[in-house]
């Protein structure tokens, strides 16, 4: 056996070859595995790293996970230049080619349906942050005499109130923005707000959403997001994309238009 099969995506057959220098997970160039009306894009990966046990262990290792995530994204990115890929979840591994074919056979109909739904669409990510509060009290003059308990309490109340107002404003802003963008997009998904320890971003993430937009309407969508950017002080809007439609690859598209 020559290793396991790591599957990135399933696509409809496409004529254009992938870039020759493209490397995938574990440095193995992605290969095309056709079956009926579908093509799986796979890499051969070593069992020592990708069998169930070692894979699970590796996933706790951020450096390892980062490398695999970047390689996976690199292949999906390359695919989006030639077709609309249907990305699979990171770490989808099969024993051999025949396992991959069996899977494609079993899910052919649903893959084709989803590929139709996603054809010509891309995903845009929009995040809203409440900027960290400036703390005017912190820059207080050093020679000022210690404040009284009453002053302290009053200041603290003011600060809490200001904070609540800001928070409220950010929530309202995010809800409205999500409604506006959802109305414009074909579908939307809410991801969990990002943890600042992981993102390294400043401020608090109040909206982390993904929108499915036809490629041809992306320009307007981006402009729409851009117009909101300078809207409200203390609030930051970030746009990412275009992504392959990762967030919309699941078969059940039960909802479009749930609120945050």
């Amino acid at each position: 056996m020559t290793g396991l099969r790591y599957v990135y995506a399933v696509c409809r057959p496409f004529g254009t070859p992938l870039q020759a220098q493209l490397t995938g997970v574990g440095g193995d160039p992605p290969r095309l595995l056709p079956h009926h009306g579908l093509v799986a894009v796979v890499s051969h990966v070593p069992e020592a790293d990708f069998a169930e046990e070692p894979l699970r262990a590796h996933l706790e290792d951020l450096d390892w996970l980062t490398a695999v995530a970047r390689a996976h994204q690199g292949v999906i990115d390359a695919l989006t230049t030639v077709t609309t890929p249907l990305p699979l979840r990171l770490g989808t591994v099969f024993r051999d080619d025949s396992g991959v074919r069996t899977m494609m056979e079993a899910r052919e109909e649903s893959f084709l349906r989803t590929l139709d739904r996603l054809a010509g669409r891309v995903e845009w990510g929009v995040k809203v942050y409440l900027e960290p509060e400036p703390e005017p009290e912190a820059v207080a003059v050093p020679e000022r005499k210690p404040m009284s308990g009453r002053d302290y309490l009053r200041q603290r109340r003011t600060r809490t109130k200001t904070h609540e107002e800001l928070w409220q404003r950010a929530e309202t802003f995010a809800t409205r923005l999500h409604e506006t963008l959802s109305a414009r997009a074909e579908d939307s998904r809410l991801h969990a707000p990002q943890n600042p320890a992981l993102s390294g971003a400043s401020g608090r993430n109040v909206l982390n959403a993904a929108y499915l937009v036809p490629r041809t309407e992306s320009e307007e969508f981006v402009e729409m997001v851009d117009r909101t950017k300078d809207g409200v002080p203390g609030i930051r809007v970030e746009l990412t994309g275009p992504w392959a439609a990762y967030s919309f690859a699941g078969e059940e598209t039960a909802s479009s238009g749930e609120g945050p």
């Binding site: 894979l55 992981l198 981006v222 699941g250």
Partner: protein, 62 residues
């Protein structure tokens, strides 16, 4: 398209999509890795590993 500057994709944005998005394959033919375990990757474990190895692996660290 007048799209945003294409700086390197932040890892968190990528993980949002790769660990919570994408088609999940279940069944005996796979090694059955993708369906359950990945979704439950312990972000706390990741975060502590980030904190442990300052400077962090993220581009925009201080």
């Amino acid at each position: 398209m007048t799209v945003v500057e294409r700086r390197e994709i932040a890892l968190v944005d990528l993980l949002d999509r790769l660990l919570a998005g994408g088609v999940v394959i279940t069944g005996d033919i796979t090694l059955r890795i993708a369906d359950v375990d990945l979704v439950r990757i312990d972000l706390n474990a990741l975060i502590s590993s980030v904190n442990a190895q300052v400077p962090s692996p993220f581009e925009e660290s201080r």
